[in-house]
């Protein structure tokens, strides 16, 4: 697959088979196209003028997401996303989690209650927050906000969960909590995480892809990549020769 922003090619010859219900980490130096690749999967790049896939296709569960019969809102319901900076809405905790369901037309209070509880349990927030679901989401700590964003993303029960450096703005303890969360999430979702932090990739991921200048240099089980890289470039990067 090739991907361009206008005339400049951001991704080239990407071929990646993300394994089902596993955590896949995308690593690589700044500007290598990790985030772009991630955003291709739920077509978040659509609203950037001139950005398009120029060759090849992106398939989610075997379906080309650029097919004419693919509904963008349905695709994004299937592929949830968590951003680098936590971005809960200025609404209550409950409304934040229920937002995704509501925009897809769910009005039944019982269904919403259940979904909110399930999502909050999954994101390990339920015990902390169950008594103050009506409080503003902005009053939470940074780590809680990010977990709330995860809860919001998984409330619609997506198949794939994209995480764009979800821990880069968090303190170590919050990071740890989210990392613990990820391995649990992988039981139910296919998780793709972009990270700058190689230790994190080792800790949380089952597979790792190393990108450099818009190309996939190496892809394989995380252990193999980190202990026994096939490519010289990967090895240099992992040893910190460039970053």
């Amino acid at each position: 697959m090739d991907f361009c922003y206008g005339a400049s090619r951001a991704l080239e010859d990407i071929s990646l088979d993300v394994p089902y219900h596993r955590v896949t980490a995308l690593i690589g130096p700044s500007g290598c196209g990790k985030s772009t690749l991630l955003r291709c999967i739920n077509r978040m790049n659509d609203r950037v003028p001139g950005a398009r896939v120029t060759r090849g296709q992106v398939r989610v569960k075997g379906k080309n997401i650029h097919d004419a019969d693919v509904d963008l809102t349905q695709l994004r319901k299937q592929v949830g996303m968590v951003f680098q900076k936590s971005n809960p809405f200025a609404k209550s905790i409950y409304d934040n989690v229920a937002y995704g369901l509501r925009i897809h037309g769910e009005k039944n209070k019982a269904v919403l209650d259940e979904a909110v509880e399930r999502a909050l349990r999954h994101s390990a927030l339920w015990d902390e927050l169950k008594d103050r679901l009506g409080a503003s989401a902005l009053a939470l700590s940074g780590g809680q906000q990010q977990r709330l964003c995860i809860a919001r993303a998984i409330a619609t029960l997506p198949d794939v969960l994209l995480m764009d450096e979800p821990c880069s703005a968090l303190d170590p303890i919050s990071t740890l909590k989210i990392e613990e969360l990820m391995s649990q999430l992988a039981r139910e979702f296919t998780v793709i995480i972009v990270t700058h932090n190689m230790q994190q990739a080792v800790r949380v991921s089952d597979f790792t892809a190393f990108l450099h200048l818009g190309k996939i240099i190496e892809f394989g089980p995380t252990e193999d990549i980190f202990t026994n890289p096939r490519e010289k470039l990967t090895e240099d990067y992992l040893r910190g020769i460039f970053s």
Binding site: R47, T73, R76, G80, F83, N87, Y99, I103, H104, R152
Partner: protein, 645 residues
């Protein structure tokens, strides 16, 4: 630790960093620059404070001045007269609606006859105008001394006859007349000549017809007609008495004012004498001051004359109340047309209250005390809750600013009501849906509105919007709108529309900024969850920007409240509280405003008079309102800022 133990500063450092400080007049240049910038920044604050001080200085004297005036109003007995005069004024309104009721009741019966008569009169005038030249020639000839020869006159007569005949032929006769009547009338019009002093017999007949019809109609509704006439004449005696007393009181007031003016003059002359150094001038000033003494006015004696007649007044009031009630009782229930019935109902409804007011006035006369001092609270109340703004009156000036405030508030509300949806929706569209090209067009165009001079907008309001509203108000299928058809082209709605137009740029730009400030992350998150554009806009962006939008609306309101030129030109400038009983149709009534009154009257009043001070009081209130509105807008915006963080 001993200070000598510390390592010594290396000498080199002192060499490199040489002390290059120079001073100007003992100040460090850095400091001077800082003060210069600081001074510029504080100019605005200082000017604001100065404005406030100036306004308050000019305005605050209003209270003592007005208190003195109200004191005179009481002492000279004007208040005493008003006790009766004010409720008596209601009689006029009631009487006029009864009179309208009578004509409405008579209308269906006399309408035809009256129209026929009026049409005949009109035709006669037209015929005369057409033959005016010949007629004048004949008239001149008849008046000439010595009289011209008979044949000349005959020729002139013939000319006139031909002209009159031609004119009578050329006229268009309305279908009110039958063919026979038209022929008859035509002949009579052709025969018109200056020597005929009587009206043409046809017109006479029509007049007689009308009189008969009118008489018949009046007989049919005799109850109503007599009741109306009785009611109309009921207060005549009371009026006469009150007028007499009023004249007396006014005389007293004038002499008090004169003597007060002389005293003030004397005071000023004496002060001038104190300060002057020249002994001659001093002597002449003192002499002048001594001459400036008015005769002492014995107000107590004067007002005693008034209060002495309390009994007489009460008898008259009782007599009036009795006859008014009698007239009211004899009003019939059925008056034919619905118009008349409505007017009758209105009068019937108002009558008991009026009678009650008159009775209360009679008792109030007794408890009225000339020597009761006017409290400051009363003066403040008279300004802030006074419902009358009357100036340059020969009787008494009142400065109550409620009518002005109502005008300003209603107009501002209309403007905000119209401008808010337009600007907010435009802002949402521009910010979220418009393409870059559209943005490039919409934003400068809306912002350009701000550059239109308000006097030009006022001009448009007078010449264009007023006519448009009036025309629309006469369209038959729009009659369900309350207040239609409208009476005045210049009204609060018209002013409100134009002010809305002026408020749009402010509201639009600030709302757009507020939407722009919605964190990018919110939009990302909403998009990533699969929301459509509309869902994102209405569930995330607008709620997040709502405080900013509110603040924009408030700032727009501030802009509208302070606007002067448009309201002065377009609002109709009637100083009265709009009649809110008209429901939403009230917006089509004219009104005056806080800003308009200052602009209109400040140039014409003498400096330092109570009127001048009252206008400054209005200025203070206006200033306070603007400050409050802006403060609210800031408070709302601050909430928004804190939420975002």
């Amino acid at each position: 630790m001993d200070s000598s133990d510390l390592p010594r500063r290396p000498e080199l450092r002192n060499l490199i960093i040489r002390n290059r400080k120079r001073t100007i007049l003992g100040f460090d240049p850095q400091q001077i620059i800082k003060y210069f910038f600081g001074a510029n920044a504080s100019t605005a604050v200082i000017v604001l404070v100065l404005i406030m001080i100036f306004l308050v200085r000019e305005g605050v004297d209003f209270l003592p001045t007005n208190r003195h005036e109200l004191q005179t109003y009481r002492q000279a007995g004007l208040e005493f007269c008003d006790l009766v005069d004010r409720p008596l004024r209601e009689h006029q309104t009631l009487s006029s609606s009864l009179r309208q009721c009578v004509s409405a009741a008579l209308e269906p019966i006399v309408k035809d006859a009256r129209e026929r008569r009026n049409a005949a009169f009109l035709l006669k005038t037209q015929a005369e105008e057409k033959a005016a030249r010949q007629r004048e020639a004949l008239e001149n000839a008849l008046e000439r001394e010595p009289p011209p020869a008979e044949d000349q006159l005959a020729a002139l007569r013939k000319d006139l006859q031909t002209a009159a005949a031609a004119a009578s032929q050329a006229l268009i006769y309305p279908s009110l007349f039958t063919a026979e009547e038209t022929a008859l009338f035509k002949a009579q019009l052709a025969a018109l000549s200056p020597e005929l002093t009587d009206l043409p017999p046809f017109i006479q007949a029509l007049s007689a017809e009308f009189m008969t019809q009118d008489r018949a109609a009046r007989e049919k509704y005799a109850d109503l007609v007599t009741a109306q006439e009785e009611f109309d004449e009921a207060p005549d005696d009371l009026h006469e008495l009150v007028d007499e007393l009023k004249e007396q009181a006014l005389g007293a007031k004038q002499s008090v004012e004169e003597s007060h003016a002389l005293a003030v003059n004397r005071q000023q002359l004496l002060e001038a004498a104190e300060t002057t150094a020249d002994p001659d001038e001093k002597a002449s000033l003192i002499k002048e001051a001594e001459a400036s003494v008015g005769e002492e006015v014995d107000l107590t004696a004067l007002t005693k004359e008034l209060t002495a007649r309390t009994g007489e007044l009460q008898t008259q009031i009782a007599a009036y109340v009795e006859s008014a009630e009698k007239a009211a009782a004899s009003l019939p229930d059925d008056v034919g047309t619905p118009d008349a019935a409505a007017l009758l109902q209105k009068a019937k409804k108002g009558l008991p209250a009026h009678v009650q007011d008159m009775r209360e006035a009679a008792t109030a006369l007794e408890s009225w005390r000339v020597d009761k001092p006017v409290s400051m609270l009363r003066v403040i109340g008279a300004f802030f809750f006074g419902t009358e703004w009357i100036t340059n009156s020969s009787w008494q000036d009142f400065f109550g600013f409620v009518p002005l405030l109502t005008g300003s508030v209603v107009i501002a509300l209309i403007a905000v009501f119209i401008a808010t949806p337009i600007s907010v929706i435009a802002a949402i569209y521009t910010n979220q849906f418009a393409t870059d090209r559209e943005k490039e067009l919409i934003k400068p165009v809306i912002e350009f509105i701000q550059a239109i001079p308000s006097v030009v907008l006022g001009f448009i309001g007078i010449s264009l919007v007023g006519d448009l509203i009036k025309e629309f108000s006469e369209v038959s299928w729009l009659q369900w709108i309350p207040g239609f058809p409208i009476q005045e082209r210049l009204n609060m709605f018209n002013a409100g529309c134009l002010l809305a137009f002026m408020a749009v740029p402010t509201m639009f730009s600030l709302s757009e900024d507020a939407l722009n400030n919605v964190p990018r992350g919110y939009i990302d998150a909403s998009d990533a969850l699969g929301a459509t554009k509309l869902q994102t806009v209405f569930r995330v962006i607008v709620p997040a920007g709502i405080s900013g939008i509110l603040s924009a609306v408030l700032l727009g309101l501030g802009r509208v409240i302070g606007e002067t030129m448009v309201v002065l030109l377009v609002a109709g400038n009637r100083i009265a509280i709009p009649d809110f009983s008209a429901g939403p149709g009230v917006v089509f009534q004219p009104a005056h405003t806080l800003t308009g009154i200052i602009a209109q009257e400040l140039g014409e009043v003498s400096r330092g008079s109570s009127h001048w001070q009252a206008l400054f009081m209005v200025g203070i209130v206006l200033f306070t309102i603007s400050l409050l509105v802006n403060w609210c807008a800031r408070a709302v915006a601050r909430r928004f800022e804190s939420q975002k963080a």
